[in-house]
Amino acid sequence: MSTEPILDVQDLTVVYQDDRGRDVPLVEDISFTVLPREVLCIVGEAGSGKSVTMLAVMGLLPPELHITSGSIRYRGEELVGMPEKRRRALRGKEMGMVFQDPMTALNPVKSVGSQIGRALSVHNRRLAWGDRDQRVAELLASVGVPQPKRRSRLYPHEWSGGMRQRAVIAMAIANSPSLLVADEPTTALDTTVQAQVMEALETARETSDAAMVMITHDLALVAQVADRVAIMYSGSFVETGSVYEIFDSAQHPYTKGLLASILTEYSDTNAAFAIPGSPPAPSQRPEGCAFAPRCTSAGKDAACLERPALLPMPGSGERQRAAACHHPGTELLNAPYAAPAAERAGAR
């Protein structure tokens, strides 16, 4: 796989300016690439910077957040500093986004069909109304919405949550984008419809031949759909690798902790393993390794007072396999069990 990446993010830093005018970094020096048709899952706790990273890629950062350094290239074209007009032409056409909460993602006073139709007509001014409606119905049918013609005339409040998320997916893939960004697409849904919506998203992605970056904290979902995984903690990637590498031979103590927290039939106890403590607020990140205060690695020592770089692991393949730890691979002192993580998560 030596194809040109669809998305190439290098040393991206996004900051938030606090009340006193100081820059608080939310995302620090993040680098990753996504190849065509590849699925990258970014995994991390709430507030780790996953959504901020992908909003920066989409160019949808709220006004109080700024990219201070780094580059984001889409098919080799630099997005940082690109004129807004050109950026808009890419957004929704080349890159589509699916949001977390389908209950609020649609405009309540416009029919669902008209909102999906806008995704088409905004990038194709000459599209006739009849063709547009026809295409909207096809899109809705392709994501599993029954009676798409009738339903497209209804308003969001007349749709269920799962159906609304399908509509958002239909909107995201309306122009067959090369890159899909999905920000926890099933988190806000009832568990009973999560799998169906995820299936619709996977089908839609395959039909439009798109690469996808999916933000999630559902490791079972990661095992199902990911080609590659990036583990994010406190604004930085702490470990990256293929889905097999991450699940079979996690190197970073945070990754190990996350995998150990999956409760399965292999668990020795009824209680899920919990990583002690909670992640620091962006303004209170420690000087050295951000994870050190919560780290239970047997190798923890004075070196952890320095910030570790995300270094390639020895013997890693063509794609980057890296961990940001001074003592990668060391066992956790309180690891509850030793069953293979991949089996536990039910990886494909």
Partner: protein, 306 residues
């Protein structure tokens, strides 16, 4: 829909009934108008005779029943002063002038508010927003009658551009309409500005941007329709204050509308006219609120369901 309209119509009738009853009670509490009508040289016998002629000697309940019975037959009672003339005819005679002034003032105010707020939000020229809200607050701190007098002082007395009072021409309409419009302007400008800012934070805005919409299009096609809802809600409530303000402005500029008629009628205890005027105000108020409800249904599909 038919059931909904039927319910609203019943509510409207109930509102008007309450207005009729309350004004009737207040009118009787103020005592008989006979003495005032006949002047200070009238003898007690003359006053009693007029009381009998106007029906004020009868028990209140009988007067009330008689009045209600008349209303049902379309008889609103004759003016006490101008005894041959129906009070409602006098009100209807003044109504067009009030409607012209009210409509001119309100639509000018709304037009100014929408133009200013949309210009600011489309160009994102925020310093102008502070200027607009600042000037608006200054205008709001002045009562209508004082602002009206200021206009007269500047535009009529100092500059001599416009006649200070009267009616019948476009020039005489300008100052009273401007007084009403500027007062209404800041109410609606602030409302719409707030609504657009608040709507801008909603997730659907991000969805729209993510599919490639321009920020201007997002304001016009996404946040504006949502922002209209709170504006319309307050418009219905604000209408009462608006009609009250109309009475004051009509009197400041000697505009021969309903407000002027009602004020004169109140001073001379011509309660038949006051009552008819208030019924007309109530009808206008109820009709305008029905219109707001109707518009609400057009803009918000969630309301349409009822």
């Amino acid at each position: 829909m038919a059931r909904y309209l039927g319910r609203r119509l019943l509510q409207a009738l109930a509102t008007i009934f309450v207005v009729v009853t309350v004004t009737f009670i207040i009118g009787r509490l103020a005592g008989s108008p006979s003495a005032l009508i006949l002047g200070e040289w009238a003898t007690p016998e003359q006053i009693a005779a007029l009381d009998v002629e106007l029906g004020f000697d009868r028990p209140y309940l009988v007067q009330y029943a008689d009045y209600l019975g008349g209303l049902l037959q379309g008889d609103f009672g004759n003016s006490y002063r101008d005894r041959g003339t129906s009070s409602m005819a006098m009100v209807m005679d003044r109504l067009p002038d009030s409607l012209v002034l009210g409509a001119a003032g309100l639509s000018l105010g709304l037009l100014m508010a929408f133009a200013a707020v949309l210009f600011i939000h489309l160009t994102r020229w925020w310093p102008l927003r502070s200027v607009m809200l600042g000037l608006g607050s200054m205008r709001q701190s002045l009562p209508d009658f004082f602002f009206g007098l200021l206009l007269v002082l500047i535009l009529s007395v100092s500059l001599g551009w416009l006649p200070s009072l009267g009616s019948g021409s476009l020039q005489t309409l300008i100052m009273p309409a401007l007084t009403i419009a500027t007062g209404q302007f800041i109410v609606y400008a602030r409302l719409l500005d707030n609504a657009l800012l608040e709507q801008g934070k909603h997730d659907y805005v991000r969805t729209a941007l993510a599919r490639g919409e321009s920020p201007r299009r997002v304001v016009l096609a996404e946040t504006l329709p949502n922002g209209l809802l709170p504006v319309m809600t307050v418009a219905g409530i604000n209408l009462g204050t608006f009609l009250g303000g109309l009475v004051i402005v009509e009197n400041v500029f000697a505009w021969p509308g309903m407000g002027q008629l009602m004020l004169t009628a109140t001073f001379s205890r011509d309660f038949a006219v006051v009552q008819s005027g208030l019924i007309m105000v109530a009808v206008l108020f109820v009709a305008a609120n029905l219109l707001v409800d109707f518009l609400y249904g057009i803009v918000d599909p969630r309301v349409r369901m009822r």
